[in-house]
């Protein structure tokens, strides 16, 4: 592969340097802002917040055909892909399809919001379609069809002798 031996002109080089420095300044700015990011300006502050002593540990108990799924039985990413849709769906439910963010956008950029608002909403009927979709999705991940799916929201407590269930509430039930 031949390379261009012609050197960069000084001004071009300076431009690239300025671009890079600008990138780092923006990056640092977003790092400081922390609550919001703008890809590719992200922050690397994970596990830096002061963790209070958790009173309870929330978790999902997934029963596929009445058999509980355990993290130890899956690879890291595979388990992540089992858990992640539930967490996302839970967040969607809790936030009312991110109503707070949309309201904020509507307040700050009303014109823009009016233009794009229809794209910001998730497809209608998600609350009813998600359980069925997740059951099929889980079947694809497990490599076998799942006929009966139950997901419960649990709250655990950590005791010296082990983990104890503090609270339990049914969430998804799909046959």
């Amino acid at each position: 592969m031949a390379a261009d031996p012609k050197p960069l002109t000084h001004s071009r080089k300076k431009g690239l340097l300025a671009l890079m420095i600008g990138f780092f300044i923006l990056q640092a700015g977003f790092d400081l802002a922390h609550s919001v990011t703008a890809f590719p300006f992200v922050h690397y502050g994970m596990f830096s917040e002061r963790f209070p002593n958790p009173e309870s540990l929330p978790a999902f108990e997934i029963l596929a055909d009445d058999r509980p799924l355990r993290a130890a039985g899956f690879g890291i990413y595979r388990w992540d892909m089992i858990q992640q849709p539930l967490e996302a769906f839970d967040r969607w439910e809790r936030t009312g399809d991110y109503a707070g963010d949309k309201a904020r956008m509507k307040t700050i950029f009303p014109g823009l919001y009016a233009l794009v608002s229809s794209h910001l909403d998730n497809p209608p009927g998600l609350a009813t379609t998600f359980p069925g979709w997740y059951r099929k999705y889980l079947g694809r991940l497990l490599g076998r069809p799942v006929h009966r799916l139950r997901v419960e929201k649990l709250s655990y407590g950590y005791e010296p002798f082990g983990i104890v269930v503090l609270a339990k509430s049914p969430w998804i039930n799909c046959d």
């Binding site: 390379a3 890079m20 690397y44 596990f47 830096s48 355990r70 998730n122 497809p123």
Partner: protein, 656 residues
């Protein structure tokens, strides 16, 4: 030219590493069901990222959900878009910026979609995106500038993580790590927790002081990357620390952050391009007699020359004045008697890096080969060349003992690393190029011929005729019986003129003493003997050669090297005679079988037997007219050995 070659290498290497990494990543996505077409999402998430919000606002995620075939298209594009880039990179075709720009934009889009649909968390992927910018240019300077930017970003990732942990006080929060572990591994802890890893997490959770130490260690490791903002000399250490961090993160946190390791590529490269200033460092051990020509050429071609050599070699480097006087631009670093070879080599490599030398020439490499070979692997910016004294020993593997094993492995590494060689005979250069295809091997003599050093060169000096036998009195290397028998033949003739036999080597060894005793039995009025004990100072050595009428090197054509490799004089190894000849333009005798190089043809005469040698002495040495004619011919032939005639070859040796 240098930078261009380097750029091509660096770019091709990045192309290989980057896309290997990229496809491994995509295949790992596929393995874990994380491709969009495998996931087939029915909803998207907002992750408080403005760019993602803009993408959602564009309507693309919603449209994709409504048209699931779009997920398959998205995955196909992720697999196929690098193909034109790879094709373009390796086919060396006309460069187009379009495939690079399209790839960068699509990679960013694909990661955004992944995060919107299944929360990929793109922090570790950002270095991958930034490195992809290098596919948008073909300018060497811009390529290296972008790599430098990626390097700083990679450092920033770690340093920023450390600063956050310190600034937000987490590192000072007792039990922080214990709680992080509890929260992070809750899914594992809920289950039976029978695995050793799960039990280890429990133990760490129950021992906050130990887990805090782990957290602190992690912060210190991350903070260490700040060094990279001030120096590039520790880049490879930082790259190794990044690997350790990723492994520790996987073991302790079960976070597979391996994709960030592509960011270590600019750290492995160290600096882009070779040093701008041409500076050479020459390493020599005991064969200092071969250095003068190299130093003359180094002095001419380099802005700085430094020679690392033994004390003995330094003192005997030249017979005329001090080395500093002869090569005023050269610096000499001397290995004292109390400094071992490994330590001296360590100092050499530190010096080489600290002072940013562009070239290293190993004039003799006869010790610590593995150490040198391994160090050279990490000196990719330095052009390395080597003087090969014995071709068989350098190219033929030997597995007899531990040292042979280590040296054979070292030589294999050296063959890969060193592609430029210097030898003392043209035939050796040809043979070495056959043995190591693709390498450059040049013939440069030990020294250049300086006729001014032989006053009265053509005058037939009066008897006694001085026959000098240079070299140590070693029966393994020389057959002194030939000289003994020849002298006996001559002494049987009453008309033989007086001869002085000079044994110009250490005769104090047991083998030397035996040879000396044999000659002493011949000594008398017509044959006097001159011999030496111990090391002969260079001035004295050169003085003896300058007043010689004839040199006689009764070589055993086949010899064994110090490592017991079979070598052939004139073909796989050179005798010191070729160096001695250029100090005195007198004829020399060598046994038949010695492959006489054309360039030394005027001076070297072969003999088949003592009778043959005696005939030569009678016809040439004792014949004033014939002798004078021979020396005229030698002198004319030796004008070939000028610095100007070897400058081109030397440039081949030092050219990258």
């Amino acid at each position: 030219m240098e930078k261009r070659a380097n750029y091509t290498r660096d770019r091709n290497l990045l192309l290989l590493c980057y896309f290997l990494f990229y496809y491994v990543l995509l295949l790992s996505f596929c393995h874990d069901g994380r491709l969009l077409s495998q996931y087939q999402p029915v909803f998207f998430s907002e992750n408080r990222d403005l760019t993602e919000l803009a993408l959602i606002a564009s309507g693309l995620p919603r449209w994709m959900i409504a048209h699931p075939w779009a997920f398959r298209v998205a995955d196909c594009l992720a697999f196929l878009l690098p193909v034109p880039l790879i094709w373009q990179g390796f086919r060396d075709r006309r460069f187009s910026v379009v495939p690079g720009v399209v790839f960068v934009l699509y990679l960013a889009l694909y990661l955004l979609l992944d995060d919107i649909f299944w929360q990929v968390h793109h922090e570790p992927f950002l270095v991958l995106v930034l490195l992809s910018l290098t596919w948008t240019t073909r300018k060497a300077d811009r390529f290296y500038l972008l790599l430098a930017g990626c390097r700083y970003y990679f450092l920033y990732v770690f340093v920023s993580a450390a600063i956050w942990k310190i600034a937000r006080g987490a590192v000072f929060n007792p039990g922080e790590m214990s709680r992080i572990l509890l929260f992070h591994h809750k899914d594992l802890l809920i289950g039976p927790c029978a695995s050793p890893l799960c039990r280890a997490y429990r133990w760490l959770i129950d021992h906050p002081s130990v887990s805090s130490l782990l957290y602190l260690g992690g912060v210190v490791l991350e903070a260490t990357f700040i060094i990279g903002f001030f120096t590039r000399r520790r880049d490879r250490l930082l790259a190794a620390l990044a690997v350790i961090f990723v492994i520790a993160d996987l073991l302790v946190m079960r976070i597979p952050y391996w994709m960030i390791l592509i960011g270590t590529y600019p750290l492995w490269l160290r600096k882009a391009g070779y040093p701008a200033v041409k500076k050479i460092l020459v390493y020599e051990t005991t064969h200092h007699e071969n250095l003068p020509a190299l130093l003359d050429l180094c002095d001419q071609e380099f802005s700085e020359v430094t020679v690392f050599l033994k004390e003995l070699s330094y003192h005997h480097l030249t017979g005329e004045g001090s080395p500093e006087h002869r090569w005023p631009r050269a610096e000499f670093v001397i290995q004292t008697r109390d400094c071992g070879n490994p330590r001296f080599l360590w100092q050499l490599f530190s010096f080489l890096r600290r002072h940013d030398y562009s070239h290293l020439h190993l004039a003799t490499l006869d010790n610590n080969l593995l150490l040198v070979a391994l160090r050279l692997l990490f000196l990719d910016r330095v052009h390395v060349s080597l003087t090969v004294h014995e071709i068989n020993e350098y190219t033929i593997p030997s597995w007899r003992g531990l040292r042979d094993w280590s040296e054979t492995i070292a030589k294999r590494l050296l063959h890969g690393r060193i592609r430029h060689y210097h030898v003392f005979l043209p035939a050796m250069a040809d043979l070495l190029q056959q043995r190591l295809p693709g390498c450059v091997a040049v013939f440069i003599p030990s020294r250049f011929y300086a006729s001014h050093r032989q006053p009265g060169w053509a005058l037939p000096a009066p008897p006694p005729y001085r026959i000098v036998v240079p070299g140590s009195l070693d029966p393994n290397r020389r057959n002194y019986g030939d000289i003994d028998q020849t002298l006996r033949l001559l002494l049987s003739d009453p008309a033989m003129p007086p001869i002085q036999l000079v044994l110009l080597g250490d005769s104090s060894t047991p083998a030397g003493s035996a040879i000396l005793t044999s000659f002493q039995s011949l000594a008398g009025d017509r044959l006097t003997l001159r011999h030496f004990s111990g090391y002969i100072p260079e001035a004295g050595y050169e003085g003896e050669l300058a007043t010689a009428h004839l040199l006689w090197s009764p070589l055993n054509i086949h010899k064994q090297s110090s490592r017991r490799a079979s070598e052939t004089y004139g073909l796989t190894t050179a005798s010191g005679l070729t160096a001695d000849l250029l100090l005195s333009d007198v004829p020399a005798l060598v046994p038949t079988g010695f492959s006489v190089p054309d360039v030394f043809g005027a001076a070297l005469h072969t003999y088949r037997s003592p009778e043959d040698a005696a005939t030569f002495l009678r016809d040439i040495l004792f014949n004033a007219a014939a002798y004078a004619h021979t020396r005229v011919e030698i002198r004319q032939a030796f004008t070939f050995f000028s610095k100007e005639n070897f400058t081109g070859l030397f440039r081949q040796l030092i050219d990258r």
